[in-house]
Symmetry: C2
Subunit: 200 residues, 2 copies
């Protein structure tokens, strides 16, 4: 036996296909599965299959959806005149946790990244265009991450969305609440000064 | 939608049950599964079920086995008079990689650890005893890890195995090959001095 028994080798291989999981971690996780209860293991396998089979993207906003419209697009109480453009479904969740935003979303599915070969065609940009065909949408809040790639994507979107004549906005930059000026990086502080707001 | 769609939440929960996987990592891995090909996901799920259903422990050495004896116990070319006692199936693999050892193994399934509630009854010790009933076994090499718990387990085993009159041995301590004296910890160096060998 120069290798693990076959089903275990296969399981290790499957774990290794996940991002950030190397050979040793994969083996550790596979052994953990062996030590799981029968029930937990069955649930794990079922959750994989079910996620893969039952989760689709919403035809309107490209967020995750079980079938047809996602719960947010289907909710008539949400304000359809405001679209918040985010990178991933996780970002939608971050916004929803704030409980402040009542508009709808559009999930790009990533950011422009020439190095990784991600061009505009690979993002859900044409789906965003088709939402602008009637005059429902009044404002688009571009909420890509404050990273180099997120910024580039935001600039690109602002440029191609301009002809549609909707109001475009970007999340404010500045000091994170509870942070310390002493430890704030120069770029953030610069942005906070630029974006200073009048006090009454 | 205050939470992820249901199948995804379940998948995240399953990943969280694995050791060392927290909430954020679990979410990252679950999204990676969503982005896998249908085929990879199906293989992943199958590998979990197959590992859980088809992998048993060898009735003799308690190593992993598909059914009946494990390949090593079944191999008539292996020297049944020498048993190497290890903690886990991973340790068997480490020994097999050396290609030097021709004896057989005994997998304890862990180490004694009063803090974690692991007592001798939870380890495969009575299975080891039953291998000593006839006079086949001449030597037992105790190869638990050189940790506090591994040492305690080795001492315990040495004590209870003594009455059987077999030769007992322990792996040598010393400097790892390719290491640097300057960076060797005191305990290891002390053991290397104690275990010094005559040169010709």
């Amino acid at each position: 036996m120069a290798e693990y028994v076959l089903p275990l080798s296969r399981l290790i291989e499957s774990f290794r296909k996940l991002p950030g999981i190397g050979g040793k971690t994969a083996a550790r996780l596979a052994f953990a599965v062996l030590n799981m209860s029968e029930e937990d293991a069955a649930q794990f396998a079922e959750a994989i299959l079910e996620s893969k089979t039952n989760i689709h993207t919403c035809p309107v906003c490209c967020n995750l959806s079980l079938d047809g419209l996602c719960p947010i697009c289907a909710d008539v109480e949400r304000d359809g005149s405001m679209i918040c453009v985010v990178e991933t479904p996780k970002d939608v969740l971050a916004f929803e946790r704030v409980r402040e935003y009542r508009g709808v979303y559009h999930v790009l599915g990533g950011v422009l990244s020439p190095i990784n070969g991600i061009s505009p065609e690979q993002l859900h940009i044409k789906e965003l265009f088709s939402r602008l065909e009637d005059d429902t949408v009044k404002e688009i809040l571009i909420a890509t991450n404050p990273t180099v790639e997120g910024e580039a994507t935001a600039s690109y979107l602002a440029r191609i969305l301009k002809p549609f004549g909707v109001k475009l906005s970007r999340l404010a930059y500045g000091l994170p609440v509870g942070s310390d000026l002493e430890y704030t990086d120069e770029v953030t502080l610069h942005r906070a000064i630029e974006g200073r707001r009048p006090m009454n």
